[in-house]
């Protein structure tokens, strides 16, 4: 590393360390089928440390716990609830198998719509309608075309800070969805940018993001507050 490079690197480290931290968003659970559903559905209300600390409870108890979560606001289809329970019982039960290595096989073509339902709809709701005061809508949201890369940064790093969307203010914290593959990130952003008449917002010269663009963004992690600053620096085209 050159001296200048070294100084810049230290400055970057210092900048990251001085920001308020969001480690909770980075808690990892054991690799296994449908782990992504736990990431997508449970972090609306709490981070995953509760899940991790509960590791080792019996299948009955996981079942009861997930049923119980319905009363605290978890709204998911039965089949997803079953998959989540299956994952938890298997990988965070009393006798978990050794963690499965990621298969490394090329992932099959990704269905952006299915990905949206599975990963995004817990907060942003079906049809991208959002929830007033809690989660901004994605339907008719000009942020989608604020900048080619902005939604990629949001998915990979999360977003933290007050924003105005369609005349309403939101001030929640979106966790990072960096458990999604590059292809999945590209596919779900492509879907949301076209769905629910969002294509009408599309500038004429707009270039979609592909896996390569996502991979590049992934190699340069940002703090959620930095994503917020990036948003402010890129005014939405109207």
């Amino acid at each position: 590393m050159t001296r200048v490079g070294f100084v810049l690197f230290i400055a970057a480290v210092a900048a990251v360390l001085s920001l308020p931290a969001r480690a909770a968003d980075r808690i990892e659970l054991p690799e296994g089928p449908n782990r992504d559903l736990v990431y997508a559905k449970c972090r609306t209300c709490h981070d995953l440390q509760y899940v991790k600390e509960s590791a080792g409870i019996t299948a009955d108890n996981w079942q009861a716990l997930i049923e119980d979560m319905g009363q605290y606001g978890l709204r998911i289809p039965d089949d997803e609830r079953k998959k989540i329970v299956q994952y938890l019982v298997t990988y965070l039960g009393p006798n978990p198998p050794k963690a499965a290595a990621p298969s490394g096989a090329p992932s099959p073509a990704v269905d952006g719509e299915a990905m949206y339902e599975r990963q995004c709809s817990a907060c942003h709701q079906a049809h991208g309608g959002g929830l007033p005061g809690a989660f901004p809508p994605l339907a008719g949201n000009h942020d989608l075309y604020r900048d080619r890369m902005f939604p990629v940064y949001v998915l990979l790093n999360g977003l933290e800070g007050a924003i105005m969307v369609k005349g309403a203010s939101y001030n929640g914290v979106m966790p990072p969805f960096d458990h999604l593959s590059n292809a999945e990130v590209a596919a779900v952003i492509g879907y949301v940018r076209a769905a629910w008449n969002n294509a009408e917002l599309r500038p004429s010269d707009f270039v979609d993001v592909d896996e390569k663009a996502v991979a590049q963004a992934r190699s340069k992690p940002m703090h959620p507050a930095q994503v917020h600053a990036y948003r402010a620096a890129h005014p939405a085209a109207r």
Binding site: A23, R26, R43, D47, A64, Q71, Y72, G73, N171
Partner: protein, 417 residues
Amino acid sequence: MEKKSAFGQMSRRQFGKLAGATAAGSMLPAYALRALAAETADQIIPGKSAEMIIHNAKLGVMETPLTLLRQYAHTPKEILFCRFHYPHEGNAGWYASLNAPKREDWTLEIDGLVARPRIVKLADIEKMDMVKRVSVIQCAGNGRSFYAAKQKVGGGQWKNGGMGNVVWEGVPLRHFLDEQKVLPAASVKWLTAEGWDQPATPEGSDFSKSYHIEDGALDNAILAVKMNGEPIPAAHGGPLRLIIPGYYGNMNVKILTKLMFMDQQSPSVFQSMGYRFPLRPVEPGQFKANDYTLENSRPTYAHQIKSVIFSPLPEDKPGSGGVEITGVAFNDGTAPITSVQVSADGGQSWQAATIKPAESPWAWYHWSVRASLKPGQNTLMSLATDALGRSQPVDGLTRWNPRGYEWNGADRVLINV
């Protein structure tokens, strides 16, 4: 350092070394630094000790290591355990703070089955006559992790640090309510308290707590505005908190906005399902986390009698020979603690500890006794009894319950000499 997963298991000390290595020029990805740097409580609630044990960062849930807790007569805000039920982010971010909130416009609404509902300004409450209550505040889940010896219970795995001995000051609740002349209906049976906090999603149940209107514990309750002599920090329920001395933490509703006179208890899930204890002893598998009803269980109201060993702890690495065993004991404040029996040999022999008078009926009592440690493993135990004859179970697992509340088994500390 090549694997991301390795970082999660690193201690803060190791992180310090690593940060040093980074300064020397090693390439550490920024995300790893961020993940590491975030593990301390001071970054979740500024001002909290970095030594706190975090159970949920998004909700600001953390407990105090006993090595810190034992250093203070009154538990300071920097180390007091913290438990919220909803994310303190966004619009709720203001209460992730140890500063007293500046909320001059704060009001307390008194409503429900009353002829004359009222809205009282906090500024007016602050002008009323105040009383002091030194009281243990304790999470109902404190000690949950110990139930795992029978069958592990889901949720935050609290050890003994979800408690503190705190000085509260405020306006006596009963007198305040009488003065307001809201004229409750004859059918009123419950008082319900609600706070400002709201669930993360609109489908989630709001947090509120109900008490029998004739509950004697309410005679000692206060609308608290001060904690340890200063305005209550937001993270601990300021600007206004209902303090019911001797009651578990969840009953002491934080950031209080509303009191309601009702003929039924709150339908909040936090009253009807969460924070409840079965009326009869239950066994794993026979009574499950969702089997609670209003009939077969009760809310986690009054502290069960409890004692906790503060010294020696394994961290103290005591040698063999004479040692002073110290700790605290407390109950719900309805009768004094009269005896603390201590064993240094796993319960084979017991001796009575000397108990210092407590500051108030609800404060913790300090106790101490001389004992001797032998080379090898020593199992220290403590067991408190009060003037009503109430005692801790020697085996706390007899009170196993599927949500893991109210642990009060004889405390056990293993010391290897």
